[in-house]
Every structure is written in C-alpha cells, then in structure tokens.
C-alpha cells in the first residue's frame, strides 16, 4: 500500500487521558480513536494489526481441532438466570431491554450461550470431546474504563469452550490448549509466560494465565531463578522458612508506644527491622461461631486475600473487622493488636511462626510487646500460608529463589469442571446410556488487549516496534525526493512491485514530505524493516536498510538486496 492511499493519522499530541504508553502510542500512531469512554474506533493501521493477530489465532485454534462458531453479542436474560449470573454479575454486565421490554445483556462472556447450544446439539459421548471457539465483540461496562484498549468497555476476544465426558479428557484438551496458546504467543512474537493462576469467580480447578512481560504490567508474577516455575503472585506458595525456629533470648516486655500505629513507626520508635515485628489483622469469620478471625504476619509481608479467603474459617470476600469490632475483641485500637492473649482463632503465617524475640501489639492502645516468643508467651494457633511471596523467597518447587516481574494478562485458560453444565443441566448419554453431566473447559485471549500489551513490551521513545508477524506492514520504503527524481521514482516503484509480488506486506511512503517527517512517521507506527532509496544510493548501486531496533542503517549492494531483505524477514 502507498501512504497516499492510507489514512495515516499520526499525531504529535498525546491525549490527556492516555496514562500508559501503549494507549499514547496507539493514538499517536493513528491506530485507534476514542468514540466515547471505553469505546474505540479502529483506524486502518490498527485493523491491519488486529487482522494479523486474529489470523494467527484462527490458524492455531483450527490446527488444535477447535471449531469456529459465532454467538450473538446480545444475549437473553433467561440463560443468565439459569446459571445464576443474572443476579451475581455486577454492573459490568450491561443489562438492556428490547422494544418489547424483554431483558437482554451485552455478552461479556459466552459460557451460558455455548452450554445452551451444546446441551441441545450434543447427545452422545461419541460426539465428545468438542471444542468451540469464536472471535467476537464483547462488552463489559467498566466503571472506569482506561488504558485505551487495555481496559475498554467494548473489546474483541477469542473465547473457546470445550466439553468432555470426564475430567481426564478435559485435562487432555486443557493441555492441548496450553500448548496452542504457547504457539500463538510464540508466533505473535511476544516475551510471555504461562503462569499458574487462581480461577477467581468463574470457578473450577486448574487454571493458567498467559502474561506478556512488561514493566507497566498490572499483575505481579513470581518466577523461579532456577526452574520454569511461574505463578501469579496471588497464587505462588510461600514456603515455611527452613531450619528450626531460633530460641528465645529476650524477656517479654511491655513498652509504651504513644501515637505509634504503622509497622514503619514501630520499627523507627523501637529501632528494629520490620522482619522482627509481627502485625495482626482482624477479618470477619465465615460463620457466627467465630465472627472474627486474627491474621498474624511478619511486619514486612503483605497479606494475600486469595489465600486467606480459601481458609474455611474466613468469610469470602475477605473483609476487615470494623474499629468497633476490634475494640470489642482486643480492647484496643487497630494499631495495637497482637497475638498475645487473644481468644479468637488465629491464622499465623509460616514466616511469622518462625520468628523469635519479636515485637507485636499489646492489645492495649499505645502499647507494644517486645521479646515475644511463640509457645513461651503465646500459642501459634493455625500456621499456614497467608502472605504474598517476595523476591528472595525459596521457589515453591524447591528450585532456586523467587523473583518478581510485572505482566499483562492476555490469555487465561480454565478447567471449569461442571459449574455451568450442572447449572444448565448439560448432559449426554455415556457408554452405559446414562445421562452424565459434562465437564467443561474455557480458554480466552483478549485479542485487542494483546495489541496494547505488544506495544507496552515493544517500543522506544520514537514509537512502536512491531514484531514482524503482527506489524501492519513488514517493510516500509522511504524514497528521497521521489517527486523530483524520476530515477528514484522508478527504482522505488520497481522495488515496491517486486516486494508485493513476493507477498511482502509493504508500505511505500509516496508523500511529498521531507525525509525527517517520513522517518518519524515510519518509526512512530513501528514498521520493523525500513528501506531508503535515493539518488546517492543509486549512484553507488546501494540500497539503505535499517531494522527498527538498529541504531544505524546499513548499505546493501543492489544486486544482493532482495536476498538480504528476505533473510531479514525470515529471521
């Protein structure tokens, strides 16, 4: 394509609401435009990237034996009532009424619709396993849409749903999808990781997230320095410290700590390290027998909600006790709670249970205890893992240490089990002609989100740097003075034609602009391979080439240029 035929809507202005670099660059490069909050129009340059990604996903899903379907954006309320989600789902589910005042929603996901389809169409175990996918527009009415297409309201997802007679078969297809996702993100050309994940509100057992690594990522991921262990920090297990707990060496002492509330204050006031202090948090219990539960952690550790919520004693979602409840249970303010003398159930983090001679609140406003020791001064109660891992922790698989990186979630695969198939009574006849509820898996990729994540990972101060496979154009040709030199114009057109004939996706910048303007635009929109043709090069029978990541261009002999370029493209 030629730039004269393309809406090249590059701009130097960065919109005020664009907080992240991908959002800024997608606007500045003319890939998207905001129509309303969380709604974006994809301009021609953006659509080209979108279609490249869709094509890779489609090819790999087909190769994996998944079948493409297409389900409506608008879904009837009845199905969501059957699954119970019409009530459960928050205001992100945009509920609408049609002209006959019947209830519908804009689909944020399609579990109900596909399960309804399958319960009607699949009758026998012989038709299983089956895996259906679609690439479809979704809508989630985010309260605060932001980061451009990273968290928009309308977005495109590839969602797939598999159906099985038993768990074993589900696990096999799950593995196939796990491998397929690797192939997809590999082909797209991203630095990504598959990480163990929590299944969240969607339910079920096994789950992995696929994260594109980027410093700006919303999620923290725990990796091992010595193995391929990777898990969302929400899920990574914090092992108990090795070796025996140190023996007590200090006497239990009560010290006045007036107006000292935070761990930081305590450390400064008493001249101790945070890892010598314990903090105690009170949360609501799961039932009335134990309405309040204490969580005890080391002062330098963070509580992990998800781990806490999984404990049967604790109410889910995790909810902190009110100041009034704290007063009632501990007789003090929140800043002075401690384990000593507490009569409510305590969950003590493994690292906290390993401390000796520690500092903690005295359950008396304005007082702390020092030289506290487990067993001698207080029983440790229920020791378990309730904290986030931190860098330097041992890896849960026993190999190496934890390091933490930021990631952007672009894919998520789940073993749903029978959550939806049970609710919608989706069953088939098994080998013994008995009705059996289906096992189900689901597999999502945020197609539009992948684009933002690719930019977060691949950019510099000049603009985007596309991986070849998803670039809107693989190659750009920037002519020098094409409008003045018929010789340059001829050479450029010849090269353009022959690249097109070879199936290379090429953009010829045929605008009558200064070279600087053209270079800047081509760098901003991120075309990976740049070719410059001008009088001087032609005189020397040379063509200039520069990869978007190169600092300097190189001159290639004209005769060898085509094979040189093809080698670059096939790298």
């Amino acid at each position: 394509m030629k730039t004269s035929q393309l809406l090249l809507a590059t701009t130097r202005e960065t919109p005020a609401d664009a907080e992240v670099i991908s959002h800024q660059l997608m606007i500045r490069s003319g890939m998207i435009r905001r129509l309303a909050g969380g709604l974006y129009t994809w301009l021609p340059l953006g659509v080209r990237v979108l279609r490249n990604i869709e094509q890779i996903i489609r090819e790999e899903m087909n190769r994996a034996g998944a079948q493409e379907v297409l389900m409506p954006v608008v879904q009837p309320a009845e199905l969501w009532e059957e699954s119970g989600r019409w009530q459960q789902y928050g205001p992100e589910l945009l509920r609408i009424k049609d002209r006959h005042q019947r209830d519908f929603c804009l689909g944020p996901t399609h579990e109900e619709v596909i399960t309804d389809m399958v319960r009607k169409e699949i009758r026998s175990y012989k038709q299983l396993p089956a895996n259906y996918y679609q690439i479809q527009t979704k809508f989630r009415d985010e309260i605060r849409p932001r980061f451009g297409v990273m968290r928009s309201r309308e977005f495109i997802m590839k969602d797939a749903y598999s159906f099985h007679l038993n768990r074993e078969c589900l696990e096999q297809t799950y593995q196939v999808m796990y491998d397929t996702y690797h192939r997809i993100f590999e082909r797209i050309g991203l630095d990504y990781r598959a990480v163990q994940a929590d299944t969240g509100s969607i339910g079920g057992d096994g789950s992995h997230e696929f994260h594109v690594l980027a410093d700006s990522g919303e999620d923290a991921i725990a990796f091992s320095t010595a193995s391929d262990f990777a898990a969302n920090i929400e899920l990574a297990e914090a092992l108990a410290p090795t070796g025996p707990r140190p023996l007590p060496s200090q006497a239990l002492t009560e010290v006045a700590t007036p107006n000292i509330h935070s761990i930081e204050d305590v450390c400064q006031f008493l001249s101790v390290q945070a890892n010598q202090t314990l903090k105690t948090l009170l949360v609501l219990g799961a039932n009335e027998d134990n309405p309040v539960i204490a969580l005890v952690l080391r002062g330098d550790h963070e509580v992990n909600d998800i781990k806490v919520e999984k404990h049967p004693l604790v109410a889910s979602p995790m909810t902190f006790a009110s100041a009034e409840q704290i007063k009632q249970v501990c007789g003090c303010d929140a800043g002075s709670i401690g384990p000593v003398g507490l009569t409510i159930p305590m969950l003590v983090d493994r690292a906290a249970a390993h401390c000796a001679d520690f500092v903690c609140g005295a359950n008396k406003t304005g007082f702390h205890l020092t030289g506290v020791n487990w067993n001698r001064d207080v029983q440790p109660g229920l020791v378990t893992d309730i904290r986030n891992v931190v860098e330097g922790d041992p890896s849960p698989d026993g190999k190496g240490e934890i390091q933490i990186k930021r990631g952007i979630e672009v894919g998520h695969i789940f073993q749903l089990g029978d959550k939806y198939s049970k609710a919608l009574n989706a069953n088939v006849l098994n080998e013994h002609s008995r009705a059996q509820i289906l096992e189900m898996g689901c597999y999502g990729i945020g197609v539009t989100r992948v684009i933002a994540a690719a930019i977060e990972q691949n950019h510099d101060d000049k603009g985007i740097i596309w991986p070849d496979a998803i670039a809107p154009f693989q190659v750009c040709i920037v002519p020098m003075q094409m409008h003045k030199s018929p010789r340059v114009a001829k050479a450029v057109e010849q090269l353009y034609d022959s690249l097109q004939k070879q199936g290379v996706s090429v953009l010829l910048d045929d605008r009558n602009e200064r070279p600087g303007v053209m270079f800047n635009d081509m760098e901003l929109i991120g075309i990976p391979h740049r070719i410059v043709i001008g009088e001087r090069g032609l005189d020397q029978q040379q063509i200039e080439y520069k990869h978007r990541r190169d600092t300097e261009p190189q001159n290639i002999a004209e005769a060898e240029f085509m094979s040189f370029l093809m080698a670059q493209l096939n790298k």
Copy 2:
C-alpha cells in the same frame, strides 16, 4: 476436515417458525440455531460460509482502494442527536443506558460514527477521496424478526462510506463501488441484478440496489425484455401510452350501483374490463392550502406510494384521507369517489389520462358514471406517473417491454450527498483554503443475508446447492464401508490428504453410518462435488463423482481422477 471432528448438526425437523426455505435449510443443515427472537448462533458449518463471503468482500473492497476500519457496536447518543436521527429513527434503534445512565444505542448503521471520525481526521482535500469499510455486527430491533437471518435483529454487514470534495468525485467512486459490487456477487456465484432504487429515508440522490433473483424475494423488480434496464418496481417509470387518446363515443350516464364498492364489483355489475374503469383515492396534502388531494388511476393499476410522495402537493409518508374527510370533500363513501365535479387538486396517472368512455364513481354514495371522457366531462388536472409498472408496459428506456421478477436485496449503494456531512459539519479545506462540506457515499452488503439469499436461489428438495466459492467445503468424500474395508480406508485417506495438499477444501465423511445417511447429509448441507469410494470402484480402478446438480453419478478412471476433479473445481 472429517465429519467426526465437525459439529454436523443436521436434522430432519423443520422448526415451526421457519417460513422460508432458506431459514428451514439453514436450521436443518446445522448452519445456525436460534438463541432468541432474531438472534442466531452460527454453528461451524455456517461460520465457514460466512468467512468465505467475508473473504471475497474484503479482497474486492481492498482491491477497490477502500480501507478497512472497525467501529464500535455501541454508539453514543450525542452523535445521533447531532444528525437528528436519535429522534427520527423508530424503535428499531435499540436505545440503551450504561451504568452511569448515559444514553447509547446499538448501531444499526454507522454514518454518524464514520462522519465524526472523518471530520476529526481529514483536514485537506489532498486526503480525498477516501473510502472506509468495515465488516461488523449490527443490531436492528425489528418488531417481528423472521425468515431466520434474512430479517434478524443481530446481523453482519459490510458497510462502506466514501468522502469527496465534490459531486463529480463522488460519482466516480460510486461507479467504482458499482463495479466492485458486480465483482463481489459474480465471485460469490449468484444470479443477481443491479437495479435503480429509491434512496428511502437515508436521503440523497443516486442509488442502486443489488438483488439476488429468487421467486421468494420480497421485492419486485422491473426488467426490460430488450435491454439491461432494471429498477425496483417502486422506482420504474410508467410511460404515457403512445398515440392520441381515443375520441369520446358514449354519453355521460349516471347509474345506480347499490352496495358496489370495489373495482371488481363495478366491473362485474357493469360488465366492463378493469382497464375501462378509473379509481379515485384521496390522500392528505402537504400543506393546509390543499389538505386533501385526489389520485386518479386506472382500475387495474396500483398506486405507487413513493412516486406519489415525491409530488410537492402530497404529504409524506402518503396517508389516506379518513372516511369523514372523504364525506366532507366528496359527499359520498370511499367506494363512489370520482373525478367529475371534484374541486380539490387531482393527480391523474398517465394511463388514466389516456382513457376514454370510462367508468368512475359519481361522488354520490351508490352511484357510478359511465361513458365519462376527459375534457368533455372533467378536466384531467395534473397528469403524472403515480402507479407501479406492470408486465407488458413499455420499458422506460424505450427498449422492449417490462417484465417483473422477484428479488432479495443483498446490497445497496447510495450517493448520500451532504446529508450527514452537513449535519455534523464535516468539512475540509479546499484548493483555495476554504472550508467545504464533504460529499458522501455509502455502500452496504448484508453479509449474513447474502447467505440466506444464496440458498433461496440455490436449493432443491434434498437441500442446499452451494456455489463453489462460498461452499463450506468444495468437495466431500463418502466412503463405502470404510470401517470394514482397510483397502477403502487407505484409498480414502490418500485422496483426502492429496486434496488437502492441493488446497481443496474437503470434508471426509468418516462416520460409521449407512451410505444413505451420509448421502442425505452431504446433499442437505449442499457440498457441490461428491466423491464416492468403495470396494467395487477400486476393483475397477474407478472413482465415482457427482456434482450436486447432476442427476446421475459418473465413474472416472482412477488415473485421470485428479485432473478431472480439478477441471470441475475450476469451472
């Protein structure tokens, strides 16, 4: 693909709500399933057809220099208020509120959004002309969705919008789109016609509809027997009869016609032909000076609303006068109105104005006049074309006669002019650096509708007969006793592999079913080329081939089969 890996959801049952054959066959072949009124899930077989059509459209639109964009399904009310359509558009526009109670709609069309994009991005005439298209889900809240995807609520359209500095440039792009649409429907393989059309409520001047010819079509199209003239019957001009009007030969006579109301009754009672009678209809006028207008047509002709509405004297939409208004103006019931003695303005159809010695109402309940003649008994008033053409009328281009066929509208191209660009103030700087409002064209194809139309045109009592270009599979292989004969299995797998390697889209029916079941399914789903492989054929080194339209299969020598099949596919 193998049927064992495909959701082949064929069924013998025809759903009660499926009135038309395409709807019945799309359900029976397992292409679509109803989710709710006017909402359909596309099953794997249907998606394959959809993607084939999208691919053809995309290739041809790109070739024509149009650029692909993607606009949101959900659109903000503000833009529709700017164009005036938030109020004008009926309840087909599904208006919704988001969680913040802000107004949005589900887009039935995207004129506002694209015009808003263009007014922001295009500043200079140098960036023109530009043509943007998308293939996107649309929603129209039909009061009574029916005919499956032919008139569904959620559907897929290719819509394109072009922008120009002047009318001449618009006309050029319009012509390019006209030609492109021909290529698209040609490639899809349909018997279609481009016909002159009314621009309807969307406004503007030039317009063509593209119709797939089928007896079940909703629209009537007037063709010439001797030229390529084709127009929607709404728009085809009815020429004045040639030659002079016959001279009066009868005297004006009033006859009692008690309880005679319809033209049919009059003809029978008075023993005259319908073409010797005139009927008079009263409609509301455009302004208070002439609140009621009379329309006079020959008894055998039908009034054409669109032609009438275009007349400046008549209110639009055309509205019949009430019985009370008729009484007031004519002093009689509706069945006895006639032109003689009327004092309101009269639009007399050209054919009616050519009659002599005719019969008409007497403006006196229960009486008619016979032997009426223009000029002698009544002045003909405003003679114009206000009727539908009928078969046998002269073609408006002067060549041949009109014949009428039924069609299904699958595409529509418009010269919109400045309707939207003016409302949204979309202008660019022209050569003289003056702001100039853009001229605009728009071009739609009902992608999902094309599929239904293709089936309406191509089916028999066994099922669908796909044109090759859009068939879900071009070829099917039906093995005889593959599960018992390793020899057949081997031959079948070999052929299947080699067809796939040649890029042929092939379905291998590897089910352990009786041949009759497989034949019926392959015919129902409409695969154009069928190959049968069995022991008997292998003994004779022959392979059986049958095109879906053939009545008998033919046996082809194994050695020649591949080249024979390729020749069939390239036909």
